[in-house]
């Protein structure tokens, strides 16, 4: 850690991991409710468990991105953060708002929550991922502005690297793309458009830039490869992301009342969206091969290499499976979508967040890398979580295929609930893998509570002995 003010990243990372754990707990509850709809009813109905699960996901990822920005920007700009104090105040505001919102979901009926928080003034509640009350949404904008002010002022007074420009630019994009959250018209076509500007714009556009920047930073630091080479790769990856993703939003426009040409434009461009993910794999492994040193933080390296692969599988491959209009006609909104969503979110954004935390946390705690024992626990956590998530994905894929064939095709399609009851085996599998995932998370979190740093002497002894 080169600058004192990078310390402010630590609370963000800790909160991110705590909220991640909370997310999985609610995921397990919601997953079990597929099998027993009365589970925890009426205390935590399915819709509450579901929105707690998704909102916690978004908030913990944002916490991780913010922590990453506060860590990376000063180091890249070669100057202290403009205002560490502002960063800390913002942290508590964001965390407080998140917890308050969660309590609101859990303890207040949703319609009452809406009435209490001024939804009548400007309706914004009720859409997926955007269930937050109006004041919280305003709070999110203020938190984002605070972050942007802080890191932009830092950039202006220091060295302007391509990586910093990409990261900070992408974070500005993230904030701007959130603004359609305040536009919730009665016209369902327009409402759908604006929803996708946020969701697609974030995860299939803006956040990919953040993914690239975070991965690029980790690779520069850990492999010692020339910054120019990494930054050049990043520019190509980012260009392909935007070229394919901007018009690729059309793959959400097929069946919402949009003009017919979106069937073509959405299919063609979104079919090409896997390209940047292929490039990310090539990029990561090329840098690994060209490395000039063996970094002691093997766990972080594992996260960094695993991220583009799982991201490609979830976002690229599973995404491609459901993106072409003729196919989507049959699989739209089935568990195939859920399968894609889980593997993509985990691979692209959860794993890169865990990668930057894995790299930066030891440094924030005063060592280059954790002890070999701690790293073994962390890497075990990695494998258990990745394999479990693949299990969840395969289970949901099975369920989705059954839905497509029984409910969407054929001369005598069956009804929704009838088909759901036939898919129970897949939901059991999913829940089992979810429990394994939680186990992997516990193993992973354990590694943070093991003291000691990486012992170079051990490595030397091993090397001399062989």
């Amino acid at each position: 850690m080169k600058y004192e003010s990078q310390r402010v990243a630590k609370p963000y990372f800790i909160a991110a991991l705590a909220l991640f754990a909370g997310q999985i707990v609610f995921g397990l509850i919601a997953g079990f409710q597929y099998l027993d709809g009365t589970f925890l009813f009426p205390e935590i109905p399915f819709d509450v468990a579901h929105m707690s699960h998704t909102n916690l996901l978004i908030v913990w990822l944002l916490m991780a991105f913010m922590g990453a920005a506060y860590y990376i920007v000063p180091e890249e700009a070669q100057t202290e953060l403009y205002s560490p104090k502002l960063a800390l105040i913002t942290f508590w505001v964001f965390l407080g708002a998140a917890v308050l919102t969660l309590f609101g979901y859990l303890f207040v009926p949703y319609s009452q929550l809406a009435a209490m928080t001024g939804d009548k003034l400007l309706p914004t509640m009720g859409r997926g991922y955007l269930e937050q009350p109006l004041p919280v949404k305003i709070g999110i904008v203020l938190v984002a502005l605070s972050l942007l002010f802080n890191i932009t002022m830092t950039l202006l007074k220091g060295r302007k690297t391509s990586l910093n420009l990409i990261l900070i630019g992408a974070l500005w994009g993230l904030a701007l793309l959130f603004l359609p959250a305040f536009y919730f018209p009665i016209d369902t076509v327009k409402a759908s458009y604006s929803w996708w500007w946020i969701v697609h714009g974030w995860v299939e556009g803006d956040w990919e830039l953040i993914l690239g920047a975070l991965l690029g930073f980790i690779l520069i630091k850990m492999t010692g490869v020339d910054r120019e080479i990494v930054e050049k790769w990043l520019y190509v990856i980012i260009a392909m992301t935007l070229v394919t993703g901007i018009i690729g939003i059309g793959h959400h426009y097929y069946f919402i009342g949009a003009p017919r040409y979106w069937i073509w434009l959405g299919s063609i461009f979104s079919a090409l969206e896997p390209i940047p993910f292929i490039l990310l794999i090539a990029f990561a492994f090329k840098m690994l091969l060209r490395r000039r040193r063996e970094h002691p933080n093997k766990a972080a390296m594992l996260w960094a290499m695993g991220t583009p692969i799982v991201a490609f599988l979830g976002a690229g491959l599973w995404g491609f499976m459901i993106t072409l209009a003729p196919v989507q006609n049959y699989v739209h909104g089935t568990n195939l979508t859920a399968a894609h969503g889980h593997l993509a979110f985990f691979g692209a954004y959860a794993m890169v967040s865990l990668a930057i935390i894995s790299y930066a946390m030891p440094l924030l705690r005063g060592r280059e890398a954790n002890s070999a024992a701690a790293q073994r626990w962390e890497m075990s956590g990695f494998w258990i979580m990745v394999i479990s998530m693949i299990g969840i994905t395969l289970a949901l894929t099975g369920a989705g295929i059954v839905t497509a064939f029984l409910q969407r095709m054929g001369a005598h399609p069956l009804g929704f609930m009838q088909v759901q009851s036939k898919e129970r085996v897949f939901f059991w599998l999913r829940e089992f893998c979810g429990l394994c995932f939680f186990g992997g998370l516990v193993v992973y979190l354990r590694s943070f509570f093991m003291s000691g740093e990486y012992e170079y002497s051990d490595e030397a002894i091993r090397a001399l002995a062989s």
């Binding site: 050049k232 790769w233 520019y235 190509v236 260009a239 392909m240 070229v243 394919t244 003009p259 017919r260 040409y261 073509w264 434009l265 063609i268 079919a271 090409l272 390209i275 490039l279």
Partner: protein
């Protein structure tokens, strides 16, 4: 000075731009394939709608882009001789022709709209407008790249030994030109 007897070069300019060029050609390739696929199912519609296109403007634009590529080639020649100022002038000329292309294309879009041709008119018009708009955006991007290279050439930042930037930017511009030639032939001409 280059000679016919010199050993063959690797790809001119920075390798990264060639990765990007390959990716862009792939995207355009998919678009052209989709066009061909759609045409196969609606041959009469495509032939009929094609007649409404302004082939004169399309041909003029082809001439404009090919000439601009020639200017870029001259610019590369100039910098290989160490003449930064001359390089800058040739690039400025290419940029000027780029502006002409954009103006002609915008006029053509305006005419199309006046004749009721939109993305929703029919499948051919959807492809014609999408393809040419997508290409238009790439001309803009190419011009941005050339502008940066021209600026650096004028500022004396390139020399006989170090002018990879000119070749890099020039390669991208040539790709944009090549795509237009294929597009013009495919969309405006071939029946």
């Amino acid at each position: 000075m280059e000679n016919i007897s010199d050993p063959p070069h690797a790809l001119p300019g920075d390798f990264a731009i060639w990765v990007f060029i390959f990716a862009e050609l792939t995207v355009f390739g998919v678009l052209f394939s989709a066009f061909a696929f759609a045409r196969a199912a609606h041959v009469d519609l495509f032939n009929q709608s094609q007649l409404a296109l302004n082939r004169g403007l399309g041909a003029a634009n082809t001439l404009v882009l090919v000439t601009s590529s020639y200017f870029v080639a001259r610019a590369t020649r100039a910098i290989k001789d160490g003449r930064g100022l001359l390089c800058g002038h040739w690039l400025t000329g290419a940029l000027g022709l780029g502006v002409v292309f954009l103006a002609l294309k915008l006029f053509e879009f305006h005419q199309d709209y006046a004749h009721g041709i939109t993305l929703s008119t029919n499948l051919f018009d959807m492809f014609y407008l999408s393809l040419t708009f997508f290409h238009f955006m790439h001309v803009l991007m190419g011009m941005a790249i050339l502008a940066v290279v021209a600026y650096k050439a004028y500022a004396g930042r390139y020399g006989v030994e170090d002018h990879a930037g000119v070749e890099t930017g020039g390669s991208y511009w040539h790709m944009v030109d090549l795509v237009w030639i294929i597009l013009f032939a495919l969309v405006y001409v071939i029946r």
